[in-house]
């Protein structure tokens, strides 16, 4: 993409939005640093440069997404949910909905959930931290992959729910019960991180695309209200990563156990 295709005012607008997003945080941090802790900040110069990097990086990232990925994603969501595409004819055959006919939507939902989550800046931040803290036991890519898989599954199931029109809270409650049961079997060290990964997945990248998909589905399927049924995909996207991250930890834990056991028998 060339610079010319982006008007300066657009970039400036995004930049201002990002700064407005960061400003309260900066106020709280510096206010406390100077009035409560009463200490000068170490490496203040480096931290300020870092903040500028964060703001500009995020603004670049968002403008780039808006220019390239969002229109494409929204267009695809619209086209895939179009009755013409699904039935090959005009929309008057939509008396009955068979959920199987929407398989392209599910594939798209899976792909978009996975792809947007891999690119999510907040998730990258948490993965770096988790990798640091665990001393490398949790790999950055392993965690990102597990979370992205969870979001993919979540969005797919969420689309299925919109197509069939079943109430949201049944799924959510069932998911919660599953998470609770899984918590008892998961390694203790992963639990907090797994809970966190539910929240971090859904920010800058995922929300606009997923919302477009949900609204598109709810508008084209008769009997669905975009206001009631279009929401709720994000809820799925925050629920399933918890399950996959705990699952990821359980599998790697189990494999490590098995390995050490077999080493023991071979060595002994």
């Amino acid at each position: 993409m060339s610079w010319d295709s982006i008007s300066n005012s657009e970039f400036l607008g995004t930049l201002i939005d990002t700064i407005r997003d960061v400003l309260p945080i900066i106020l709280v941090i510096f206010g406390f640093q100077y009035f409560v802790l009463r200490q000068p900040i170490k490496n203040i110069k480096k931290i300020l440069i870092g903040l500028v990097y964060v703001i500009f990086g995020l603004a670049f990232f968002l403008v780039g997404l808006e220019k390239a990925l969002f229109p494409l994603g929204e267009l695809m969501a619209q086209q895939l949910t179009d009755p013409k595409f699904i039935y090959g004819t005009a929309s008057d055959v939509l008396e009955f909905i068979r959920w199987q006919d929407y398989y392209w939507v599910y594939i798209f939902a899976m792909a978009i959930g996975f792809a947007t989550t891999i690119a999510e800046p907040a998730l990258i931040a948490v993965s770096i931290k988790a990798n640091d803290v665990s001393g490398g036991a949790i790999s950055v890519w392993g965690l990102r992959g597990a979370v992205a898989l969870g979001v993919g599954i979540g969005i797919t199931l969420g689309s299925y729910r919109i197509v069939t029109g079943t109430p949201l809270h049944y799924y959510i409650i069932a998911g919660y019960i599953f998470v609770i049961i899984q918590t008892f079997f998961a390694p203790r060290a992963i639990i907090a991180l797994a809970y966190d990964s539910g929240g971090v997945t859904t920010s800058t990248v995922t929300v606009p695309l997923v919302t477009a998909l949900g609204i598109g589905l709810a508008t084209t399927i008769p009997g669905r209200s975009p206001l009631i049924d279009g929401f709720g995909l994000i809820a799925f996207a925050s629920l399933f990563p918890m399950i996959t991250v705990m699952g990821y930890a359980q599998i790697s834990h189990w494999r490590a156990n098995k390995q050490s056991k077999s080493e023991y028998t071979h060595g002994g």
């Binding site: 941090i29 480096k46 990232f61 999510e120 931290k129 949201l168 060290a189 966190d196 800058t204």
Partner: protein, 196 residues
Amino acid sequence: MVILGLALFIKGLEMGLFPIGESMAYAFARKGSLFWLLIFAFLLGFGTTIAEPALIAVADKAATLAAQAGAIADTDESRSNYAYWLRITVALSVGSAILLGVLRIIRGWPIQWFIIGGYILIVIITGFAPKEIIGIAFDSGGVTTSTITVPLVTALGVGLASSIKGRNPMIDGFGLIAFASLTPIMFVMIYGMIVV
């Protein structure tokens, strides 16, 4: 451009946001003032949420829904009023979530009891909440945590857990985000019940 932005963001993260979150956590631990730490935690959660663009969008949609359902008068004034208080509600809930989460790290309470308790409460409230608000409530749990809040809050939690004796940063340091995504669901549904 997307890649350039992401690279800059990560670089800035490691230079700016991670160190400041951790150094503040250490400074608070040294100062030993629980009161100020909790105030800080609350303000951080409240301040970052109230300005969140995603939340503003969700609140406006919720107001339109409520007006359609006949819960509030269908005028611009009552709608913007509804959206404004909804934002305050969510910001309050995130503020108290970070506060509670920090308190948990300091005391070393196991996280699962809070989360499971929170889920059970949510399930119970879902049974009583008006149908229109449920989807929005669950979504608002996800949108409140922005890209800038997450790294900072994570660094704060991990910094606190590593500066307090007997806390394991892996077990105790994470979990602040989980609290911040849980409480808005509850608060928004309660808000929907009270206003309707």
